[in-house]
Amino acid sequence: MADVNRGNRPLSPFMIGPYYRPQWTSMSSILVRITAIAALLAAILVVAWLLAAATSAEAFATVDGLLRSFLGDLILFGAAWAIFYHMLGRLRHVIWDFGYGLEVKTSERMAQGMVILATVLALFVALAF
């Protein structure tokens, strides 16, 4: 087995702060993971709403009222942004995996596109339906 290189190794984005400058590439990648966890938590609300509808009119009124309150709207919009961003970030992974868009400049452009498109899609779903 090859010897372990103990020094002179590339810095990891884990060292963000004094050692590692935040960039579009590292930040957009970390956000893909954060949005996945956020979306999984938001799925609890969606399932609670479905379960309430399947239970009774009273249960539905409670959960539906919660989701349609101002705070509920805010959380659902955040959840929509998160899942759309995650979807786009994962699409970028697929594009990379097929061998395209691996240049730093292209990756950065895609990161910016992910933020913009996620916002557009979340606004579209929130306002149009």
Binding site: A36, L40, V46, L50, A53, R68, F84, D97, L121
Partner: protein
């Protein structure tokens, strides 16, 4: 002083051999499915939310909203569970990490089952 490293210690934390490629390909498949399912679900859910109790019951009685919701519950929650497990593997180690993975898995499958039950009851 020369530090002594066993082969095992060098390999620890670098991931299991063989299974990684399968996991990676599974994530690529669900990632591609997200591109269809996420917009479909977002629109379906947005259309369903806002209706009265009776309207919501009728809405999920239709095949398309019910099917899109069921597929989302299975595929998207599975994908998000895998994402969360990988995050746990990276940041939580030892017994705590293992137990967190068990908890995330249990919670995700419970969420999936509860959602499927609810949609089935609404649809049938």
């Amino acid at each position: 002083m020369q530090r002594y490293l066993t082969d095992r210690k060098r390999a620890r934390g670098l991931g299991a051999a063989r299974r990684g490629t399968h996991h990676h390909w599974q994530m690529m498949i669900t990632s591609m499915l997200l591109v269809i399912l996420v917009p479909a679900f977002a629109i379906t859910f947005a259309l369903g939310l806002g209706g009265s109790y009776e309207e919501v019951l009728a809405y999920y009685g239709r095949p398309l909203p019910a099917l899109i919701t069921l597929l989302t519950l299975v595929v998207v929650i599975f994908h998000l569970m895998q994402e969360t497990i990988v995050a746990v593997e990276d940041y939580v180690h030892g017994i705590a990490g293992k137990l967190t993975i068990v908890a995330v898995t249990a919670a995700s499958y419970t969420l999936m089952a509860a959602g499927i039950f609810a949609v089935a009851k609404l649809a049938l």
